[in-house]
Structures are given as structure tokens and as C-alpha cells.
């Protein structure tokens, strides 16, 4: 049934895959709107929306970072084609997260927001991750990719740093029970570890690896 995964999908199949991923990525938003409409966001709805949008931004970010390991481990490069969309969805949920914070949580009280960012390392780290993700979103187009060339690649390596900041932001949120952020930290370490392994240890043998896979 999943035989199409074994070879490179056609252009038409790719656009279908993209459409499906697009819809899946909208589900958390649809769910939030639905829960809001039926008044089921719990006792602290603002916190609920902040946590939900933050969680999904992190989830999609980690999903984005699995595409390269999939390529490295399986030799199949086509999943990379959904990377931009996932990256932009991560940015979309980050924007919802920030809007909730600035609007619903702090009602555009910029003085209070400035104090909150400055006084709480947790907020500062999250804010830094947001700021750093803005240039990545802005340079996600094909034309920017062409224009920046090698520097585009360098710029977009920021995503690793952003991922670490996001995990720290989550870690510092929990009072004492660190199991959940620890889980995401482990996943991120595995995802980055696979890259490091292929780049620095496996690198000379990459060509033979590709041959093995193509057999």
C-alpha cells in the first residue's frame, strides 16, 4: 500500500502529499477554533491557547527536522519537498502563539510586555527564537533561495539554534515535572545527532551508502 514510498513519487503524487500535509497541519487550528466556539477551552483558556499553539509549533519544528535524517538514513530525498511548507506552518503557529501572548494575555500593554520579556529568561529565550525565525520565513521563497545561494544554507542552519531555544523555553516553563520537555530534548538530540554522525563520521562513505540504497 505504501509502495509509493519506495520510489520517487511523481509530481502529481507530490502535490497530493503536500495537500494532505497542509490539511493535517491545519487540524490543531481548526480544533482550537472549535473548542473556542463550544466554550471548551478550560478554566484558563488563554493559557490553553498559548500552550496549544506553542506545542504545535514545537511539534512541527521537530517534524521539519526529521526530513533530513530520513534522507540520510533511507537515501530518499523526496520528503525534503515538504520541508518549506512544514517550516512555514511552524512559523504560522509561532505567530499565533505570539499574538495570543501580546493580545489576549497582555492586551497590547507594551510596557508590561517589555518588562515580562526582560525579567523572565523563559520569555526572553522564546522571544529570541521568534525573532530568529522571522528571517527564515522571509527568505523561504525560491527567488530568495536563488539570490542568497550558499548564504541561504548558512542562514537556514539557524533552525538548529532556534530548536534548542524553543526546548529551553518549554523546559523553563514547567515548575518541576520535566518529563515532557525532556522527551522533546531527547528527540532533538537524536535528530541533530544523526546529522552530526553523517557529516563528520560517516561523510567519507556517503557515496557507497547511496549505492547500497539504490540496489
Amino acid at each position: 500500500m505504501l509502495a509509493f514510498l519506495n520510489k520517487n513519487p511523481s509530481k502529481k503524487q507530490i502535490s497530493w502529499i503536500k495537500a494532505v500535509v497542509f490539511i493535517i497541519c491545519l487540524i490543531p487550528l481548526i480544533r482550537l477554533v472549535w473548542l473556542g466556539v463550544v466554550d471548551n477551552l478550560g478554566a484558563n483558556p488563554i493559557e490553553f491557547i498559548e500552550h496549544s499553539t506553542g506545542f504545535w509549533a514545537l511539534f512541527i519544528l521537530l517534524a521539519t527536522l526529521t526530513l533530513t535524517p530520513i534522507r540520510l538514513l533511507s537515501g530518499r530525498a523526496w520528503p525534503i519537498q515538504i520541508r518549506r511548507m512544514l517550516g512555514l506552518f511552524m512559523f504560522f503557529y509561532v505567530c499565533l502563539h505570539i499574538i495570543t501572548y501580546v493580545w489576549l494575555d497582555f492586551a497590547f500593554d507594551w510596557l508590561a510586555i517589555t518588562k515580562d520579556v526582560a525579567k523572565h529568561p523563559r520569555i526572553l529565550v522564546g522571544f529570541a527564537a521568534f525573532i530568529l525565525s522571522v528571517p527564515l520565513a522571509l527568505t523561504s521563497t525560491n527567488s530568495m533561495m536563488k539570490r542568497l545561494r550558499e548564504r541561504w544554507k548558512q542562514l537556514h542552519q539557524l533552525v538548529y539554534f532556534i530548536a534548542i531555544l524553543v526546548i529551553v523555553h518549554f523546559w523553563w516553563l514547567v515548575k518541576k515535572d520535566i518529563r515532557e520537555p525532556l522527551l522533546y530534548a531527547c528527540i532533538l538530540m537524536v535528530l541533530l545527532g544523526i546529522r552530526i554522525y553523517y557529516k563528520y563520521i560517516k561523510a567519507p562513505k556517503v557515496s557507497s551508502k547511496v549505492q547500497v540504497n539504490s540496489l
Binding site: 471548551n40 484558563n44 511539534f59 515548575k175 518541576k176
Partner: protein, 347 residues
Amino acid sequence: MIIQNKSDIIPSEITPKSVFDNRRDFIQKAGFGLIAGAAGLISNPLKAATVSSGTTEGAGRLVGRANAPAIVKPTSFGARQKISGYNKTAYGASEKLTAYEDITTYNNYYEFGTDKNEPAINSKLFKPYPWTVSIEGEVKKNKTISIEDIYKLAPLEERIYRMRCVEGWSMVIPWIGLPLAQLIKWAEPNANAKYVEFVSLADKQQMPGQNIQVLDWPYTEGLRMDEAMNPLTIMAVGLYGEQLPNQNGAPLRLVTPWKYGFKGIKGIVKIRFVEKMPVSSWMKAGPSEYGFYANVNPNVEHPRWTQSSERRIGAGLFAGRIKTQMFNGYTEQVGQMYAGLDLRKNF
């Protein structure tokens, strides 16, 4: 600031909360199920533990005298029992009460899980009756008192208090209880008693959250003797006219409305009078974040959460924040106890 002349929720109007499902949590994490499942050791063992400790409650039984508020053993899970015969007081009469559902489904009670919706679910099988509290330390003599006798120590009062959590949210809760001073009088502490230490139940069977060393169990808290004797300090046994729900600290908890919510230790089994300042569970967990006093103070920042403002639970999506008041607005009653104390150092 929300000040209304009359509470618009009558306790009798509030419908019982049906089993609070955890679908929010579930749906949120469903997408992550594959990965979380693989990392089984990190996934939540709480629910399984709860189920394994389950037996059904016995038949209803009336304890106590006809003219004293009686404790009624619940006839079934989550059955709500009215407290008969308590006095209304002027405390918080002008405050708008937080809805019963919000008070009983949004709880920090790590013995039953660290997510706020978990205590309502994981405490269903907890048995708060029968219950005794032991009195120890610097007292005339060690003794124990049953929850039934605590109900009879003094006339029960309704106290509507604001509660400010260190996480930056607040509620208004109609507690029922008695002044802690009455219990202390009965306990007969000696002249060496400078502090009161409270200890919660330690029981992994009934409190599945204790299987994880999130805090140093059992939960402990403490008050200085004058804080404990302050008329604002109560031992709560109920809320909204009923016996305390398990997730709110049944059968007996501390309420100190001018302090952050975590001072309100729940499920108390031991009260010890001591000479030296006790070290609470939260002080052990994060000495730079949680101090002994934990007085609500908008001028002393916490490393994680804004303390200058707070969000009132139930106010709605667009209500914004309200300014946090010094001592949570109870300066008149408690301010004099801290005259000359550097509240920045003694946070």
C-alpha cells in the same frame, strides 16, 4: 479589578461536574502518540496506577451529632455532600465567585498529577474519610484528632477569599472552614513552639503522582506562629457549601489568602509545632524561587512568572489582566506581621 455587589452564581444553581474527560490533553498529544509511545518510560504512569487501586465506596453513613455539622460519607464516586450548619461571614461578600467547575477542574495538586486537569481525574478513588490528624512536637502532649472532631472544634464559617497562584492566575473561592487558631488552641502548644509545620498524606496507592519524585514527598508546608494564629488563616473543610472535593484537598487543607496558593497544603495528616523554621517541599525543590513566606507581592519578581499582574480565572478571553495587590489585598489584616522584615530577602 472586578468588584460586583452580588455574586451571580448561587451554589445550588451549579450543575454537578460530570466526569471531567481528558480529551484536551489527549487530542493535543495524539499526534505525538507514536514517539511518546516509544519512549514508554517517560509516558504517564498515573492513570494505570489509579485504576489498580480501585475499590468502590461503601454505603452512605452519617457521623456526628444532630446539631453539629456532620460528615457524610459519599455514597458513590464524586458524590457531592452538603455541609449543614455553617455561618456566612462578611469576608469577600462583594467578590464575584469563580465557577465551581473551574475551581474543581483546574488544580495544582501534584500528588494526583502535574497537569491541572489531572487531580480531578486521578483523585476519584481517594478516600478522605475516615481521617485523623496527629498533633506533635512542642505541645503539652502528642494527640490525634478525627476529622469529625475538627468539624466540632468551632462553628464552621464561610470565607470568600481570593487565591493568587504563583503562576500568575487567581480565583475567588467560597471556602468553608474554621480558624486555624481554634485548632491550635485545642492542640496546646508550649512556649517553644515558634512555627507550625504541616504534613500531607504520603500514600502511593491513593496518590499516584507520588510514584514520581517531582517533589520530596510527603508535601510539607509551614507558617510562623503569628501567621498561623492570624484570624484570616483557616483550615478549610469545604467549598461552595459542600465537603471539599478530593482534588481541592479533602478532607482538610490550609488556606492563607495573602500567600501564594502553594502554601495551601492539602490532605493534612500531621501538624507539628517546632522551634526552628521548617523547610517546605517547594523550598527544597527551588530555594531561589520559593521562599518560606511566599507572601503575594507584586514588587518581588519570580524568575518564571509575572507577579505584578494576574489573570482572573473565568474572566473570559478578552478581559485582560488585573493588577496584583500587595498581600493579595489583605494588607490591613496581615501587614503588621511583617513590619521591619525585608520582603525582598524573605520572599
